[in-house]
Amino acid sequence: MRRKASLILLAFAVFFTALSPLLRWYAFPRLAKIPAGQYQDMVLEAKDATLLDYDTMKARKVPKVTIVQTLRGNVEASEKIERTAGRDVVVWDSLSYVQGPDGKMVSKLPERYIFDAHSQEPVHATGESVDGDPVTRQGIEFKWPFQTEKRDYEYFDAQTRTSAPIHYKGTRTFRGVKVYYFEQTIPWTKVKFPKIMPVEGITPESVAKTGTTRWYTTVRKFWVEPVTGAPVYAEEIHKEELRGGTLLGDRDKVTAFAGHVKMREDYIEYTVDLVESNRTLVLLMTSYLPWGFLALGAGLLSLSLCLEARSRRPGDPEPAQITEPEPVGA
C-alpha cells in the first residue's frame, strides 16, 4: 500500500516540478499578450500653456490645453496581418486630439501602430502610419514589453517619425508602485505640419508655400511598472514653433505651443489600479505559480521518498502468509 502511495506521490511530484519551468518559459510567452481588441482612453492636461492664436498669429497664455488620447485595438486588421506574420499581432489605431481652452481643436494626430502581442516588437505591414504617412517604426511606443529591463529602449516619436533612445534613469516608487523611470529628449527638429490644421481653409500645402516651417522639441517622461511594462504615469515638456516665411511677417519665429503636459488626476488613479491588477496576473504566471509548483513538487517528492523508505525498512514484519487450512483428521 505504501509503495503504491509513494509512486502516486512521485508522479504528482514530477508533474508539479515540470509544470513550474513550463509555465514560466513556455506558457508565459504564449499566453501573456496584449488583447487585440483593447480600448483605452487617456486625458492629459497642460496648465498655463502657451498657444498660437491663428487669427492674430501671436502666441498667448491660456489656462489649459487638453490632450485626449484614444487607443483602439483593430481585431480585423490584426487577424489579417497574423495570417502572413505567423505570430500574434496587435494593431492599435490611436488618435491624439488636442483641444484648446475654448473647446476648439488645436491639432489631431491619428496613428496606426502594429506590434507583436507579447514582445512588443514592431511588426511592419501595410497600414503602419502616422497622420496618414507610411512609417517604419523601430522600438516601442505607448507601452514597454512585459518584464521591462533596467536599460535604454528605442522609443518612436510620432512627430519626427523617427526612433531615439529613451533612457532608464532609475527605480522609483510611484503611489506605492515600484516603477522604472525613463526619459527621452527630442532636440529641436523640423517636423511636418499636421494634415488637418486648426483653421479652416489653411492646409499644410498652403502654409508650405509661405516658407514657414514647424519645429518641435520635447522631453518625454514615463514611470513604467516593470512587470507589466505599462506606464502608470507620463509627462511631457513640449514646445512647438513656427519659423521663417512670410506667414510670420518680420518675426523669425513664434511659439505655436508650449506646455508641461501631465496626466489628469482621475486617470492616474484609474491607471495605477488597472496596472496593479494586471501586475498580479503576470506575477501569477512568472513567479507565484512557478515557485509554488516547485515547492509543492519538492514536498511531494520528499513525502514519496519517505514512504518508499518506510516500506523498505528491514524491521517491518513480513506480510502474513495465507495458509490453506489443514484438513481435520478423522
Partner: protein, 44 residues
C-alpha cells in the same frame, strides 16, 4: 521500473496540460464599437 513509469506519467501529463492550454490560446475578442474621442471625457 515502476518509479520510472510514475515519473514519466507525471511529466507527460504536465506537458500535455501546458501544450493544450497554450494551443487553446486567448480569445481574440472584437474591435470596440467606441469611437476615437474628440471630446474630453468626464472620467475614465
Amino acid at each position: 521500473m515502476r518509479a520510472l513509469i510514475a515519473a514519466t506519467a507525471g511529466l507527460a501529463v504536465a506537458l500535455a496540460l501546458v501544450l493544450t492550454i497554450t494551443a487553446m490560446g486567448s480569445p481574440a475578442g472584437s474591435t470596440s464599437p467606441k469611437p476615437m474621442l474628440t471630446t474630453v471625457p468626464a472620467h475614465p
